[in-house]
Amino acid sequence: MLPGPTICNVALMVGNRYAGTGGALAALAGMVAGPFLVVIALGVVYQRFGEIEMFRHAIRGMAAVAAGLILATAVKMAKAMFAKADWREHRTQLQAALLALAFIGLGLLQWQLALVFCVLAPLGTGATYLVGEKK
């Protein structure tokens, strides 16, 4: 549970295990450099043809699906987290509340990520710490 793209963190950990800090950085660079050039190449194509009506419509469809990918990821993660949860436990209730507050703050109220994070992260961690003690 670290910030940053998960796949990059995995590259860092594997690189680190086999060849220390240098290995970690090399693994990350290897993972990012190729796709970076592909994405920029696609960007060049977009800048060139982005005004064409058909192309714009295609992009719209792709963007709608991309939003669906994010939604599906969120649902999958929530399912995994609550799969074996006991709803009578305070920990589970607390986690459900944190999830809902994070969604409401960032999504519905459209507060800044910094604000929502700086309120929920310390309070949430404090609360789960205290709940953990009672067990």
């Binding site: 549970m1 670290l2 796709p35 800048q47 419509h57 719209r60 939003a67 669906g68 969604f103």
Partner: protein, 177 residues
């Protein structure tokens, strides 16, 4: 590049944001960066921003590279390179630091509490991101329906997401959206 160079400003903004993008990571940056470059600074319009996101999602590799594309569209190579470093550097340092610490503190009560709290917060953020992203990029209810349909298909099957994105492109081209 503009005179006051948005590159530095954008990169700093992204670097700070990237540290708060816990868990699922990159997608959280979407609406935050989008809000900043589209409504705040007006460097890009909604359509360009969602195109950058859609293209990066369709391309191989980590989809955080949409940030590179946003940088590219705003300020060419300098924009692309600096925004990419900005999104990678802070979390890389933090992860390397955490790897060192983990050996000593794994299994502690605080570690457990951090995990228990950050997991639901990141899921809530992810759901919010999906919601915000539809507000930025979906132009009508057809697009919203496609978003929900894509999510349902992904949850029920093991289809490769790239195929779904291609199907989305096709649906768009056919004028369904």
């Amino acid at each position: 590049m503009n005179e006051q160079s948005p590159v530095v400003e954008l990169s700093l903004h992204i670097a700070v944001m990237s540290l708060m993008a816990v868990g699922g990571g990159v997608v959280l940056l979407g609406p935050q960066v989008g809000h900043y470059v589209v409504e705040g600074k007006q460097w890009l319009n909604n359509e360009q921003f969602s195109a950058a996101y859609a293209i990066a999602q369709a391309a191989p590799g980590p989809n955080l590279l949409f940030v590179s594309l946003v940088g590219w569209l705003i300020a060419g190579w300098a924009g692309a390179i600096f925004t990419t470093l900005a999104v990678l550097a802070p979390s890389t340092l933090l992860t390397l630091g955490a790897i060192r610490l983990q050996a000593r503190h794994a299994g502690g009560r605080l570690t457990q509490a951090l995990g228990d709290a950050f997991a639901p917060i990141s899921i809530g953020f992810l759901a919010a991101t999906a919601w915000l992203f539809t507000r930025i990029s979906n132009v009508n209810w057809h697009a919203d329906a496609l978003t929900v349909l894509a999510a349902l298909i992904l949850l029920r099957t093991k289809i490769n997401p790239v195929i779904l994105i291609a199907a989305g492109a096709l649906a768009g081209t056919l004028g369904l959206i």
